[in-house]
């Protein structure tokens, strides 16, 4: 008898009984209905068990979406910051097994050093979606690598007559001039998928993501499209772009607005709102809606810090005299007067 009760207890705690009470599985419902018919002596205990399982229905609907979204944004900001500050150090360092990792890294380093005696290996440096990196090239020249970009170069340039890097994505270069023993300057070359950029010592940006372009800040660079002979020489303030038909087009930067991301800022040089929108959408994964053509043509010059999206939107709003409403990942840009009342009625974040 005792054994039998024990068995019943187990049965009444099974997933199948719970399914029967909650009517969540028709097979279990049929199975139990049949069992109850065949075992009428357990009617009372089944009744009690049903009541108990029914009392275990809980209310989990009391969580509101706003809180979740607010915390999600906080989390995004935090991850972005952490990724930026930790960009030079891999996250695995902080794991408890870091002792082991360190030993392995040590072994790896010694293997690499040994290997170097025989080889001049290529170094590839990559940044992911929320990461920027500053790195020094073997000659001391500086590269700032933007998000989602990669750069490749030889570990040592001692034996190379030309300093060469291969770039995908976007980067900003500060190249030191270097004289060789014969009195000539050693060349510095940037290879991209489409372009070959030839430099002596200068400051310039290269972007290969959408339409390739090169912007020169100081010095002089020669640019050639791969597979073609014509060489374009850029002077400071000028830029070169590949247009939709694949040809190189040169223009003055002053006339051609340029958005830069160096030092965590957007450098605006008479850029229109639509250009700014395009940039912000790409960098933050936001959807920005603005239907008003005249607003899109408003222009802005100056610098805006990039590390906080809300601050950035706030500056845009004040500077361009707009109303910007952000609801999670959707941003609406409106004209200031017409929509004032409509905007105030929304519960979303109004600046």
């Amino acid at each position: 008898m005792f054994e039998k009760m024990k068995k019943i207890d187990r049965k009444l705690a099974s997933e199948s009984f719970i399914n029967f009470v909650y009517r969540s599985n028709s097979e279990d419902v049929e199975k139990w209905q049949k069992w109850i018919k065949e075992n009428p002596e357990y009617e009372e205990v089944i009744e009690r068990a049903t009541l108990v399982v029914n009392s275990l229905r809980f209310n989990t609907e009391n969580n509101n979406v706003d809180t979740t979204s607010r915390h999600w944004r906080k989390l995004q900001d935090r991850i972005r910051k952490e990724t930026y500050t930790n960009s030079s150090r891999p996250s695995s360092i902080r794991r408890p097994i870091y002792g082991l990792v360190a030993v392995l890294a040590g072994v790896l380093v010694s293997v690499v050093i040994w290997f170097q005696l025989w080889h001049n290996p290529t170094i590839t440096f990559e940044t992911d979606i929320a990461q920027k990196a500053m790195l020094k090239l073997p000659d001391g020249s500086e590269v700032t690598l933007n998000r989602n970009s990669s750069i490749r170069f030889h570990k040592s340039w001692d034996d190379d007559s030309v300093r060469q890097v291969w770039l995908e994505g976007e980067a900003h270069f500060k190249v030191n001039p270097e004289k060789m023993t014969d009195g000539k300057y050693r060349r510095f070359e940037v290879h991209t998928e489409e372009l070959l950029i030839d430099v002596i010592g200068t400051v310039f940006s290269v972007n290969t993501t959408d339409n390739s372009y090169v912007v020169l800040e100081s010095g002089r660079v020669d640019i050639r499209k791969k597979g073609e002979r014509e060489v374009y020489t850029l002077k400071p303030g000028q830029s070169v772009k590949i247009n939709t038909s694949g040809d190189l087009v040169m223009s003055e930067t002053n006339a051609q607005p340029h958005i830069s991301w160096i030092d965590g800022k957007i450098l605006l040089n008479d850029n229109s709102l639509s250009e700014i929108i395009q940039f912000v959408e790409g960098s933050y994964g936001l959807t920005i809606q603005c239907d008003d053509e005249t607003l899109l043509k408003r222009k802005l010059s100056g610098q805006i810090r990039l590390d906080n999206i809300d601050d950035l939107l706030h500056v845009l709003e004040k500077a361009l005299d707009l109303v910007i409403v952000r609801d999670q990942d959707t941003v609406k840009i409106l004209e200031i007067k017409k929509h004032r009342i409509h905007v105030q009625n929304q519960t979303t974040h109004v600046f």
């Binding site: 029914n54 989990t60 990942d329 959707t330």
Partner: protein
């Protein structure tokens, strides 16, 4: 900038990747750095995870902190993570460990070291958690709450995870770090205690017949 494009498409709350993805597909995408998958995981699980953290720690700040810590470290270490068959169970067990650790750190100053080794979560059921068809019946909810809170710590946690968090016994065992048979034993014992609680049965049968 390819992964970001996914996020741009659907700004909605539970959006991101398509809902038809299985847990392991979603997890795989997340491990590859897909922000939309990460977002989907976050929005799907945040409310219940928050409740769990709150139910163990009984402290909103601790709950907020621990969940933020957990998700941010998930993102940073995503490449080193294993395969998750049930994301919810994985997150619950990770969260449980983190909350208990945090509570230990907080209480280390106050409690004898010996006590720390027997440190188990003590979930307290509240009337608000209890769902009864008659909406405003606070009295009945209180009876259910009372009945549940009389269970042992372990029994409460098993009941909480199986019924409130709604995960199968097998995953309850993983979250609590005990074996499957023990989970069943705790649950059996708990249900048996509840079946003998006349006040609970009366309240529940009234609830049912008043439909």
């Amino acid at each position: 900038m390819r992964p970001l494009e996914n996020m741009k498409q659907k700004p909605g709350v539970t959006s991101g990747t398509s809902p038809a993805l299985t847990d392991s597909e979603l997890w795989g995408l997340f491990k590859k750095g897909d922000e939309a998958a990460f977002k989907t995981i976050y929005f799907k699980n945040y409310p219940l995870l928050y409740q769990y953290a709150l139910n163990i720690s009984k402290d909103e700040h601790v709950s907020d902190d621990v969940i933020q810590d957990m998700f941010s470290s998930l993102w940073h270490t995503r490449r080193n993570l294993g395969v998750a068959v049930s994301i919810k169970a994985y997150l619950l067990s990770s969260l449980r460990r983190r909350v208990l650790l945090k509570l230990k750190q907080i209480r280390r100053k106050q409690v004898l070291a010996l006590e720390l080794f027997t440190f188990n979560p003590d979930i307290e059921f509240s009337p608000e958690m209890v769902m009864i068809r008659e909406e405003g019946d606070f009295f009945k909810r209180s009876i259910v709450k009372e009945a549940l809170n009389q269970l042992s710590k372990r029994q409460k946690e098993v009941i909480y995870l199986r019924f409130y968090q709604d995960i199968p016994y097998k995953e309850v065992a993983k979250v609590m770090g005990i074996n499957y048979q023990s989970v069943l034993n705790y649950c059996q014992a708990a249900l048996q205690v509840l079946r003998n609680n006349e006040a609970l049965l009366r309240a529940m049968s009234l609830d049912r017949y008043s439909e």
